[in-house]
């Protein structure tokens, strides 16, 4: 039996027609222009059906096989049809690629400036004592487990063919955000988050500002595009999740500071 795939546009013109074998061998991405298309998987189970298909699609048979692939199943034919709607053409854009790369570089530069501004000394690098390094190591471990479980959970849902309510890129980013939350939360609670040469107040102000900016951008995106597009959350919701992460970190620092101030008062009174 031979499986063939054909894609036709709204005028019935063939856009693509090939067999599954050639599709596997010549795996390539097809760029479709805006419009409606019909995709059809055809199961060709007889020589006649194969000949009809070749004629209909105006395909050229490049080689003839000696063995007859149709002998084992005669007069059985079936097909599966799909409708494809291409809403918007997304050609490769140098401008977009440049924007993504420059945004990444600017982000790195901003992190460097933030690190430099929040230090008590002239150094940019954070200094931690041995216990803090240990805590941070454990934090990394728990964050790693969190991300592994998240990825495994998503893979499980995909294997069960459950339709996820968000784009895959956003889902992957949420995994990263969860990992960062676990790492930050654990380190803050065990006093391994802030470096010895770091000004806590500056860091906290920075976290609040970054959180507010992200939530602001997230709200603007929702107001402009809506929370869901085609029933799914898109990458435009990422800022909202990023802002939420910043406020989770802020909240944990706040609770820890209150707890510490009480502990410090008790320690002073006992000595």
């Amino acid at each position: 039996m031979i499986t063939a795939l054909s894609v036709t546009d709204e005028n019935g013109n063939s856009v693509l027609s090939c067999t599954a074998e050639s599709m596997t061998m010549e795996s390539e991405i097809i760029h479709l222009e805006q419009g409606d298309y019909q995709a059809q998987f055809v199961f060709l189970t007889s020589q006649e059906r194969w000949d009809d298909y070749i004629n209909q699609m105006q395909m050229e048979v490049l080689s003839e096989e000696d063995e007859n692939p149709y002998e084992f199943a005669q007069n059985i034919q079936d097909h599966i049809g799909y409708s494809i709607k291409v809403k918007k053409e997304l050609p490769f854009s140098y401008g977009r690629s440049f924007g993504v790369i420059s945004g990444f570089v600017i982000g790195l530069l901003a992190v460097y400036i933030f690190c430099a501004l929040t230090k008590k000394d002239d150094k940019v690098k954070c200094q931690f004592d041995e216990r803090q390094e240990l805590v941070r190591g454990r934090g990394f471990k728990y964050a790693f487990y969190t991300m592994i479980f998240w990825e495994a959970f998503i893979i499980l849902l995909l294997l069960m063919e459950i339709n996820l309510p968000a784009d895959m890129v956003l889902i992957l980013f949420v995994g990263l955000i969860l990992g960062v939350c676990v790492y930050s939360g654990y380190c803050i609670w065990n006093e391994g988050y802030f470096a010895l040469n770091e000004n806590r107040k500056s860091v906290m102000i920075g976290i609040v500002i970054i959180g507010l900016i992200n939530i602001g951008i997230g709200c603007m995106n929702i107001a402009e595009y809506g929370l869901l597009q085609d029933g799914k959350m898109t990458l435009k919701s990422l800022n909202l999740f990023g802002g939420l992460m910043m406020f989770v970190i802020f909240f944990v620092v706040l609770v820890k500071s209150i707890r510490d101030s009480k502990e410090c008062a008790n320690e002073e009174s006992s000595t």
């Binding site: 004592d129 041995e130 216990r131 803090q132 065990n190 006093e191 010895l196 510490d260 502990e263 410090c264 320690e267 002073e268 000595t271």
Partner: protein, 64 residues
């Protein structure tokens, strides 16, 4: 196990946990964890603490 000898040696010099931490070059929480027995410091940190408090390793960290 709580390290009460470290705590008393620190109190004898009238140092707070934060002051001792600053002199040793660690966080206050690290000193607190050592005093509470939640963290076992490395030998290097033990030596630094001993030097700041003018004590020997035996006096502060040897378990009788």
């Amino acid at each position: 196990m709580k390290n009460l000898r470290l705590k008393s040696a620190r109190a004898a010099l009238d140092l707070s946990q934060q002051e001792l931490a600053d002199r040793v070059g660690v966080s206050r929480q690290t000193i607190n964890s050592i005093e509470k027995g939640d963290y076992n410091p490395t030998i290097n940190l033990c030596i630094t603490i001993c030097k700041v408090l003018n004590k020997t390793l035996d006096e502060l960290f040897w378990e009788e």
